[in-house]
Amino acid sequence: MINDKDSQKIVDYIQNFSRKHSLFVMAYGTGCGAIEIPATMTSRYDAERFGIRGAATPRQADVLLITGYLATKTLKRVIRVYEQMQEPKYVIGFGSCTINGGMYYDSYNTINALEQYIPVDVYINGCMPRPESVISGFIKLQELIQQGKADNGKRYRENLEWYRANQKKIIKNWKMPDYNW
């Protein structure tokens, strides 16, 4: 007899395995890091062999790549996109600008730390990160998924008020539907 705990373990393993090997990346170049995405996806680096491929709309996507700096105007759209994505979802902060503002630390229009506004699973540093480091970032994400540690959507739901407060601090004209899906 298999008890419930063991069978759940098996189901989790299969789920995590398939989640890990099938990452649909949101096709949204939010910053200049988008230039290395084609290189990562195409022949020399070929991210598709890890099951990473593009998805055209937020509904179909699993991974949101924040490629570099986020202008406040884009941040609003990124939040919309992020909230439209279905769980389980993952966020990768790409480039130094998402970590501490990078070279735009003193700009009046770019945010400095991404995890203040949406939860982040993996940061990839560098400006630009090379395709190798992008892939290594994805592999780190895959490890997290396999271990069941990538709970981005859950973190967002649980700390929604904190994130909302931070977001509203920057986006002055908040005309967005509530997070109810």
Partner: protein, 314 residues
């Protein structure tokens, strides 16, 4: 009663096989595409992983009744059509609800899934979906004409509207219909380019134009169901073509287990070869605009269909 039980078992087996084969073909095509593009490519079972992942995603979005049921429509339409397609000629394991006139019935049923999709996509309210649906229906107007002409040519030539009869005729005469009416086959082959939605006819879900067209608002389980429905449908189309033009597979005189397996092997070879036609064409073609695509179908393919019809009459 025994017979019925066997038939139900066979139906389930057919569905599973169609699903597995369709998905694997998709995976192999992805791998082959990658090799053409100088890449290593995903493993051939990648589509199954995608499917498991999509089915295990949470879905907290509601788009109304049609939005919910659109993938189900596709699935239902696929399985229904599958039941009417003879997989192997006269084999008990793969039953078909064949009756006289099923060719016409299938022609209608094949549109059913797209219709459900159209209604579902319409309800999501995404403008990309709406435009994608319009494009899909226009495309259908385009490729259905040569396709129907080709089928009518066959019906006229052999005075039957039953797929099983056509298969039997090919089995008895020893020649495939591709040789007895090549024009009808060519017309149908061109139509198949449109049906499979590879380039240059991937205008329905063209990413650079409409995000992903009708599927824009469908993710997770919806997308997964659509994917499996689409895979079954691809298998259906291929099997139908093989049944009609390439002599089908299997031998009604031998229905033992080994003969069945051999029949399936033949079927796989034939369907895969046929599948490569739109895929090869897709690798090297950019996308047509909608009106260009329709003009394409109403040009040579339709002319070939008419020639096929005339050929059949005389």
């Amino acid at each position: 009663m025994e017979d019925l039980g066997l038939k139900i078992f066979g139906a389930i087996l057919t569905t599973i096989m169609a699903f597995a084969v369709g998905m694997t073909y998709g995976g192999i095509v992805r791998k082959l595409t990658a090799r053409v593009q100088n890449r290593f490519g995903p493993p051939f079972y990648q589509n199954f992983l995608d499917l498991v992942k999509l089915q295990s995603k949470k879905t907290n979005v509601a788009h109304g009744f049609m939005g919910h049921t659109a993938p189900v429509w596709i699935m239902v339409a696929s399985i229904t059509v599958l039941m009417f397609i003879p997989i192997l000629n006269g084999n008990l394991w793969f039953p078909n609800l064949s009756f006289h006139g099923d060719l016409i019935f299938i022609l209608y049923m094949m549109v059913f899934g797209s219709l459900g999709m159209a209604l579902g996509a319409g309800q999501t309210g995404n403008p990309n979906s709406a435009i994608g649906v319009t494009r899909g229906l226009s495309m259908m107007v385009g490729f259905e004409i040569p396709f129907v002409l080709a089928l009518v040519a066959l019906m006229v030539q052999y005075h039957t509207t039953s797929i099983q009869d056509l298969m039997q005729i090919q089995h008895e005469s020893g020649t495939w219909l591709i040789f007895s009416n090549p024009f009808a086959f060519l017309a149908a082959l061109f139509a198949s380019l449109g049906m499979f939605r590879y380039s240059p006819f991937d205008i329905v879900g063209a990413p650079a134009e409409l995000a992903s067209g009708p599927m824009s608002e469908f993710g997770g389980k919806y997308l997964g169901t659509m994917m499996s429905g689409g895979s079954i449908f691809a298998f259906i189309k291929l099997t139908l073509y093989v049944d009609l033009f390439l002599g089908g597979a299997g031998n009604p005189d031998h229905t033992g287990i080994w003969a069945t397996l051999a029949g399936i092997g033949v079927l796989l070879i034939k369907t895969f070869t046929l599948y490569m036609v739109p895929v090869f064409y897709g690798w090297v073609s950019p996308r047509y605009r909608t009106e260009q695509a329709i003009r394409y179908f109403w040009g040579w393919p339709t002319a070939l269909g008419i020639i096929g019809l005339i050929w059949a009459v005389y």
